[in-house]
Symmetry: C2
Subunit: 182 residues, 2 copies
């Protein structure tokens, strides 16, 4: 796999970096600053969100931002410093859908090595079917399993999470699903 | 919470950044480049590892690196770009302990907001009790529950993961444990 080389300058001193294997026993090339010796690591990002459910329906949000403008997604976004995974998932659900929820258990942990991300979704019980979408969302509405616009789902991890959710619900028992999306 | 402001210069052009709320609807201060308008995000990092078990014992590694030199840990390290969580956990187990394992299910997902990390541990069945520790490890050895050096465990997430492991094993059923370490 070709890894991104998005770092051109040192975050500490601004000098142009060079990519090489550091001298500390590391085995991978990193952006190393020839000026101040800072080693810059690039690591996967977490995306955290929820499967908000109300009766037999699930809440989806129509995206008002790129990528995938106009496609449907579960409320989710990049985890921020200073928060835990569940807290971030609740924050995103509030920001994107204005939904009132009671957080439940972790449901999916889906790695997407191709884009350097891990997507973590929690189940969340909706306390109301009234939503106040934020600026990132065109529309927030409930879908039964038969109504899900499968061909209009924004991301593969969202589609997989919805599939696992309806499968587990039909079985009457929710697990935790952790696997890679390749 | 005070978040780190470790970015002083733009990774794209080297200009000194300023911390401010971007103009794109964001609500948090980010390092923004006044030269090329690049917005720099700082996000939590994933640490991935395993609970390698052999009969009624668990494999621990004595750290040969800082922080916590000389303390005992489960094999774990920062997840890299281009790999999934399980793959990273297996890699770290190989690098730090030289252990032969069969990966099992995800076991703990522990957020540590104070340091901006999420620690994910998988259970892993040891195929052999012969280890070949890498340079980051002074010694790799098996411990029964009674032998675990609880006061000499390097990290809180490792201690919690070991506690959950022995609790679940006593109960005869392993779950997935996701919570915050505050």
């Amino acid at each position: 796999m070709m890894l991104p080389r998005s770092i051109k300058h040192c975050r500490n001193c601004g000098t142009a970096v060079i990519y090489r294997v550091p001298d500390d026993g590391d085995t991978k090339e990193r952006a190393v600053c020839p000026g101040c010796d800072t080693i810059h690591y690039e690591n996967p990002l977490n995306v955290v969100g929820t499967v908000p459910w109300f009766g037999d329906k699930v809440l989806l949000c129509k995206r008002n931002i790129e990528p995938r403008w106009g496609k449907w997604t579960l409320p989710a976004g990049f985890m921020e410093l200073g928060e835990g995974t569940a807290q971030g998932a609740a924050r995103e659900t509030h920001e994107e859908a204005g939904a009132q929820i009671e957080m439940e258990a972790l449901f999916t942990v889906l790695s997407v090595p191709r884009v350097g991300q891990v997507h973590l979704f929690y189940r969340a019980r909706l306390l109301s079917d009234v939503f106040e979408p934020g600026f990132e969302t065109i529309e927030a509405r409930l879908f039964s399993q038969a109504e899900i616009p499968w061909e209009e789902i924004a991301f593969r991890t969202v589609k997989e999470t919805l599939q696992r959710f309806f499968e587990d619900r039909a079985r009457g028992s929710f697990g935790v699903h952790a696997y890679d999306i390749v």
